[in-house]
């Protein structure tokens, strides 16, 4: 069993992506080299730099290296150490050029087989980019939104959607909460922001911009079209959600329409993992992060084993 990688196995790199220069870190295998490269694509509310919450991207890269995989984690253009500027994140404008650049970097390292792994906004970006990248052998999507929202769903939006007004009122009216809010400006600021989001959400429901049921009109072609392309190319795709992810419900509703037909046509090529307890979106807890690392490593090892090391039993470490 190989030890996790360290900085000794890592190489900071700058690489071109469209008209920008992106920063990334290439982690090399610590022992046996499977000849497979994995692109880790950022997402969610920790998109600012290629670390992800609690260094999850760093841990993933270093543990995958122990399993024989190359990885690259990178900063999107306009973020982290990369050049460029971005104004907003939009689900219908994924940063496919950035993923293209990262994939091209790995190709330049002699790696022809690639896996794309993305979380939230990153998952939609990875999926959008996949059909245009040579050598994609698998795509893992952690909590991808199915809908065609015009902005990324930050934690506050998710909390506003998932909790009722009564939940907020009950929390806010507890004596300890009231006492703390009187003295703590930060708590007041948090509750004010959450309250505004909840009111905004309720208002949208009232004017019909959000329907209670049937998300079929919501499902983004930018999800459906590249997914169909992956199915046609017989590339395995894994959707991952936690049991309590609101986006899981969105996925299940979306599966009643064209998404479901694409999944059926894949004959098991497109699969769903929805048994990790809790919310996975944004990886908001350490147990969820650990569960994701384990399932991701096992799935990739199963789908894209690359060059096997005949001297070892081919089991994922950790």
């Amino acid at each position: 069993m190989n030890a996790s990688a360290s900085t000794l196995n890592e190489q900071p790199v700058f690489f071109p992506a469209n008209k920008d220069t992106l920063f990334g870190i290439h982690t090399r295998p610590t022992g046996h080299d499977r000849g497979v490269g994995i692109v880790l694509v950022q997402g969610g509310d920790t998109v600012n730099v290629s670390l992800h919450r609690n260094r999850l991207a760093v841990r993933l890269a270093r543990e995958l290296a122990a399993d024989g995989y190359h990885t690259i984690r990178f900063d999107y253009h306009g973020l982290g150490e990369s050049t460029g500027q971005i104004k907003r994140l939009h689900l219908h404008h994924p940063f496919t050029d950035d993923v293209d650049g990262a994939a091209a970097y790995l190709h330049g390292q002699g790696l022809s087989d690639l896996v794309l792994v993305g979380a939230c906004f990153g998952s939609r970006t990875a999926l959008s980019a996949a059909p245009g990248i040579e050598g994609v052998r698998a795509v893992l999507l952690a909590t991808p939104p199915s809908a065609g929202y015009d902005r990324t769903e930050a934690q506050g939006e998710r909390m506003a959607r998932s909790r009722s007004f009564g939940d907020y009122a009950r929390s806010a009216l507890k004596p300890e909460t009231l006492k703390n809010m009187m003295s703590d400006r930060v708590l007041r600021a948090h509750y004010t922001k959450l309250g505004r989001k909840k009111l905004s959400h309720l208002a949208k429901k009232l004017v019909g911009r959000i329907r209670k049921s049937d998300g079929l009109e919501w499902v983004s072609p930018k999800l459906l079209d590249p997914l169909a392309a992956m199915v046609d190319a017989k590339v395995p795709v894994l959707f991952v959600y936690g049991t309590d992810d609101p986006l899981l419900g969105e996925f299940e509703r979306a599966s009643q329409g064209r998404l479901g037909r694409i999944i059926e046509r894949s004959n098991g090529g497109v699969t769903l993992h929805d048994s990790t307890p809790g919310v996975m979106h944004g990886f908001p807890s350490v147990p969820v992060q650990e569960a994701f690392v384990t399932l991701m490593k096992a799935w990739i090892l199963d789908k894209v084993p690359g060059h096997r090391d005949e001297t070892l039993s081919d089991q994922a470490t950790g």
Partner: protein, 324 residues
């Protein structure tokens, strides 16, 4: 820290203080990624420190150096992610103004080696000294200033005493106790939604007891560990800065036109000790551990521009006061 690592720190400190020639180039040179900017500056991303415990760092080398440098000490956890882009933009603007700049990740954080249990305030201070030595290695002899955010301000303050240079701080944590009080309250907010009817919600004291008993707490998916808590809780920022003759710049981020009482005490103490202290009030309340706002580029935010302008101006004014 083992003997080899201690020697590395002492070497870096000697280099930083000008007592020793810069280190010979090592294998870390080969790993350095270099980007030449359109303005003629150079950005280097790589590693420094002992090979078995390397720190990740980014060095900005200006096109027209003014003989001064700034070491930037980041905050931790969610605060690191939140502040990262601001630090990058600040670094680029400082480089445009002629400063060499060093940013870095502490051992156990970011892209560096180590695990989170390695992080203490003391380790952050030592990493800062190493970063300062690395900057001098890369940029040549420099007069150094330091900048720190949140708990990073403690590392910046302590390390800056070595050279006596100017110190800028963004929303510094006045004490370790205060830092952890805010952190634990953030965790309580997360837990509030999960408290069952009729059951008593936990308090910050309960959480602190849990941290001591289990060694770690999960704060919205960020691990906070006992070694950091144990080291930080007795520290007071006021006592960490040797203030006599120093230039200090403190930025408060709050929806208020008044300086917080805790910061007022810091300012008064340092002024009484002989420092020149300037304060900048930025009209923005930062939710460090919650990302409730939708994404928006830092470069577009008015309060961020105010922070960049204010900090660059402070260091530019302070160049003449820097020790050679």
């Amino acid at each position: 820290m083992n003997q080899g690592q201690t020697e590395e720190v002492h070497h870096a400190l000697d280099t930083f203080l000008g007592n020793r020639e810069p280190m010979l180039e090592s294998s870390q040179e080969a790993k350095r990624a270099v980007l030449e900017g359109e303005d003629g500056s150079v950005t280097e991303a790589g590693y420094f420190g002992p090979p078995d415990l390397q720190r990740f760092g980014v060095t900005h080398l200006p096109r027209d150096p003014n003989g001064a440098g700034v070491v930037i000490c980041s905050p931790l956890g969610a605060e690191l992610l939140r502040n990262n882009r601001r630090e990058v933009v600040l670094s680029r603007q400082l480089a445009e103004a002629g400063f060499a700049v060093q940013r870095f990740h502490y051992v156990g954080a970011g892209h560096s080696d180590g695990s989170r249990q390695d992080i203490t305030v003391e380790s952050m201070i030592e990493d800062t000294r190493l970063a300062a030595g690395h900057l001098v290695d890369r940029a040549g002899s420099l007069s150094l200033g330091f900048m720190g955010t949140r708990l990073g301000a403690m590392a910046a303050a302590e390390a800056s005493n070595d050279s006596g240079g100017p110190l800028a701080m963004w929303e510094p944590s006045p004490s370790g106790n205060r830092y952890f009080r805010d952190l634990l309250r953030a965790l309580l907010m997360v837990e509030m939604g999960k408290v069952e009817e009729g059951s008593k919600p936990r308090t910050t004291k309960d959480l602190a007891a849990d941290l001591e008993a289990t060694g770690t707490l999960d704060v919205a998916g960020f691990s906070i560990d006992w070694p950091l808590f144990a080291d930080a809780r007795g520290r007071e920022l006021a006592d960490m800065l040797e203030a006599n003759g120093r230039s200090v710049h403190l930025i408060q981020m709050a929806r208020s036109d008044k300086l917080r009482a805790g910061y007022q005490k810091l300012v008064e103490k340092w002024q009484a000790d002989g420092a020149t202290v300037a304060v900048e009030l930025v009209d923005h309340e930062e939710a460090w551990w919650f990302h409730v706002d939708l994404f928006r580029s830092e470069e577009e935010r008015d309060y961020a521009k105010q922070m960049f302008d204010s900090t660059v101006s402070f260091f530019s004014r302070s160049i003449g006061a820097l020790s050679p």
